[in-house]
Amino acid sequence: MPAMETRERALGDRLAQFGVNRRTFLKYCATLTAVLALPARFTERVARALESVEKPSIIWLEFQDCAGDTESFLRSRNPGVGDLILDLLSVDYHETIMAAAGFQAEAAKEATIAKGGYIVVVEGSVPMGDGGVYCTIGGKTAIQILEEAAVGAAAIINVGTCSAYGGLPKAAPNPTRAVGVASVVSGVPIINLPGCPANADNITATLVHYLTFGSLPATDSKGRPLFAYGTRIHDACERRAHFDAGQFVLEWGDAGHKRGWCLYKMGCKGPSTFHNCPIIRWNEATSWPVGSGHGCVGCSEPDFWDTMTDFYVRLPKVTGFGAEATADKIGLGIAAATAVGFGAHGIAKAIQRRAGLGSEGPAPGSMEDDTDGSE
């Protein structure tokens, strides 16, 4: 009986079996509701949806990636319930974790695509250069694989900066012409969960939102869910008070660093990065980069890497002046060159006036009556 099968797979019936009591489950649902920035009363709805939801199929595609987002996802917080939610999802195709290989694996994917209504999770950028030859799996280019999978997909979730915006492979000079997924396919709801890697809690919460409401969460103009990317790191940072006070770390390991002062002068990109890292944190919510004493590198922003390097200075370097230079060096150069240039010009003008190059007679303000006016 299909209904019975669904019930068997549903999370609610398996909680006890896995040693998770109802209290723990509801606590987890409350956490996810909070991550999604939903009012607390939605906890019950999330719990009911998770208990009774039918097993959705997921195709997890990896292109130009490092499997870092997979690693991150497999380490979801609260393993007891988090793992169950992963179990709940039917991950029909995932190169890193699936048992099947070769033709068998591709057949599993094709069967899911034939069914339709699945979620595609993409990790890694898509190389467009030279017909897509830089990333091929089973004889197909990443472009082909993505286009085929997108046709019957209910939604595409981009995990990590690479699939969202191109990420590291897109960094200059971008030899493979890497792009994000949204530049390749359209007509399917696409959501971006950038980050290097994407945060497991944000991935889980996005999936739970989809399972609970049947739709993807609201996004900003860059396709990122507002619940996770609606606030700048700088504005939710635990070191923000030190920024406003003017207390900065000047050197790694100095007194300010030991006191947990602001990392702004160490090149922290928190002021340029939208992410909820300070709030939900990493490694089972134990810490996050700035919490552990290193500045944010802005890994989840579009055009990471190019606009976020150097990591340890505030502003990107300026190229095209022969060599790379900092904005302040160029600026001081502009100011100094102007001063020196016009200083020299002034001297030259004074010499020109004294030399009396003119032959057309005294003009208004000519040199004769002005020898004492040069001071």
């Binding site: 900003d220 103009s221 860059k222 609606g230 606030t231 700048r232 700088h234 504005d235 920024f243 406003d244 006070a245 003017g246 207390q247 900065f248 000047l250 006191r259 702004y264 002068k265 990109k269 002021p271 340029s272 990065t273 939208f274 802005g298 922003e301 579009p302 055009d303 190019d306 606009t307 976020m308 505030r314 502003l315 990107p316 300026v318 904005a327 302040d328 160029i330 600026g331 001081l332 502009i334 100011a335 060159a337 102007t338 001063a339 016009f342 010009h345 002034g346 030259a348 003008k349 020109q352 006036r353 190059l357 003119g358 003009a363 208004p364 303000g365 002005d370 006016g373 040069s374």
Partner: protein, 237 residues
Amino acid sequence: MKTKEARVREVLQDPTVERTPGIVTIRVWELPVRVLHWTVVAAVLVLAGTGYYIGNPYILVGSEPGFVMGLIRSIHLASAWVFSVAIICRIIWSFIGNRWSRWDQLVPVHRERRVWLWKTLGYYLFLRKEPPPAAGHNPLAGVTYLVVFVMFVVQIITGLALAALANPQGVLWSTTGWVFSLFAIQTVRLVHHLIMWLTIGFVIHHVYSAVLVDIEEKSGLVSSIFTGYKRLPIDRL
């Protein structure tokens, strides 16, 4: 006690007072132009000073509680609004002000001004001895100010957009957030920072050129931005 008229008459009749024929004293810069000019000067000084600190906080604060960056950012934002309003007012004034404050003094739409543009460049390159005849801005200065105005508008937009980052649900964000659809946040920051340096370069040039031309044409150019009046040969109007 003599009346003012009597004193003026006395001065005019004094044979030792120089009265050059063909020279007129004329009010070139109207009051709003002068007020806006000095508002922008004050705002630029404050903005560059506070902005440099924001980019590179050099004031070292000890462990006692304080609000140095917070205060400097508040001053920067407040003067940014003053600056923005002054620039907008000046742009509006360029459509309603007198002939020397109008937009066509900056944008070289007239052929005659385009010709004088090159001659003015020649003056700066020592090819011509005399400064260009201009009661208001000379054509080269006008084009320079056009570039400066573009720089200022870019500076205002990038600055307000960066300020809006703190609240992506706010009104400021809905007006300036489009900037970040075109450019990365760090790129916007860099542009905002470089325009500060370009502005400092412009200020050096601006003061130098004003003094130079003042000395050469004896028109009271430097004092004209305080009083509004220039002393010019009648054929240069």
